[in-house]
């Protein structure tokens, strides 16, 4: 594995988006992962529609029927991948733009599908496996506890104590080997996370969190997705 890796430098990451006052982080995490996978499959970086997921995806957890993807009220990336697989794919952002509300009806147009899911799977808790899947398959959909993100400005976040109760969906786009931790007087390896709170939050919309001990549960729910190569169709 390379010591440092960043999909932003390799063209697989779209500009930072903003979910607005809507609990739709799960849809941004989902589109981010599929945007990366679609880039790897087709060589084209296409921004995909979160609003399609917000309006049309009501996929439920098979183990818990009452727990379904529900627009601004929350959802789960794995369920969203399942929806995308069943629906046939996701439209482009420009064809189905984000509104930040879930009061609209589903306007999915099958003829405008821009990216398709081939398959998706969960990655084991092992940090080397997470890194390997990131490098091989593209950005990964991950869940995290966001309590420290409310006040985060910059730097490598490495709280001594952080709950592992997952409450936020984000996108893992890379890792670094040497984020300086002044108090601990040593370099700390870190994950690079793309968030969906706009470019004015964090480090131009990104968050760095230290690697090594499942901080804030960042290693707990990691999903990788593969896209269909639509060029060959």
């Amino acid at each position: 594995l390379p010591e440092d890796f960043d999909w932003r430098e390799n063209g697989a990451v779209t500009p930072v988006k903003n979910q607005g006052s809507c609990g739709s982080c799960w849809s941004f995490s989902t589109t981010g992962a599929l945007e990366g996978a679609n880039f790897l499959a087709t060589g084209k970086l296409v921004s995909l529609s979160e609003q399609q997921l917000v309006d049309c995806d009501h996929e439920c957890d098979p183990e818990e029927p009452g727990s379904c993807d529900s627009g601004c009220n929350g959802g789960l990336m794995n369920s969203a991948f399942e929806y995308t697989l069943k629906a046939g794919g996701l439209m482009r952002e420009e064809d189905y733009p984000y509104t930040g509300t879930d009061r609209g009806t589903c306007k999915f147009d099958e003829s405008k599908i821009a990216a398709k899911v081939a398959n998706f799977s969960v990655v084991s808790l092992d940090e080397d496996q997470i890194a390997a899947n990131l490098v091989k398959n593209g950005p990964l959909a991950v869940a995290i506890n966001a309590v420290f993100m409310q006040t985060y400005i910059k730097g490598v976040s490495c709280p001594y104590i952080c709950s592992k109760r997952l409450d936020h969906g984000v996108l893992l786009v890379g890792y670094g080997s040497a984020g300086y931790a002044p108090v601990r007087m040593k370099d700390k390896p870190y994950w690079i996370i793309k968030n969906s709170w706009g470019e004015n939050w964090g480090e131009d919309g990104f968050y760095k969190i230290c690697r090594g001990r499942n901080v804030c549960g960042v290693d707990s729910m990691v999903s990788t997705v593969a896209a269909v190569n639509t060029n060959s169709q």
């Binding site: 957890d61 409310q150 002044p182």
Partner: protein
């Protein structure tokens, strides 16, 4: 470790943003009060409130969040914590409005990614 500092009035102020004014030779750098921070916050993030009551309530929440940011800074010294666009929201409002991950229960039949080689 940076720690929270207090103004003469006893109100906690953000330890990470300090206003340094020029043209006052010999003067101590002026620490901002919570009121100043709130004013800067409203201007920076274009915040306005419908009533004085709402404004006062948001100011109280903002002060709580300054203290929270200082606590986070102590717990997370390798990052910088301070005023963000969410500084006028209670933790509950923040969770309700900007988070949205459903309670997780991975299905037993979820496909697991194959183990990849990580050496070389």
């Amino acid at each position: 470790i940076s720690t929270a500092t207090f103004s003469a009035e006893g109100s906690e102020v953000d330890p990470f943003i300090r206003q340094v004014t020029d043209g006052h030779d010999g003067a101590e750098p002026q620490l901002l009060t919570a009121e100043h921070h709130f004013s800067l916050f409203k201007s920076r993030f274009k915040k306005s409130y419908g009533s004085q009551e709402e404004h006062d309530y948001r100011f109280k929440v903002f002060q709580d969040n300054l203290r929270r940011a200082a606590r986070h800074q102590k717990l997370d010294p390798s990052a910088s914590h301070g005023v963000t666009q969410f500084s006028d929201l209670t933790p509950r409002e923040f969770r309700r409005t900007y988070l949205g991950l459903r309670r997780l229960r991975l299905p037993k039949d979820a496909t697991e990614a194959p183990i990849l080689p990580t050496d070389n």
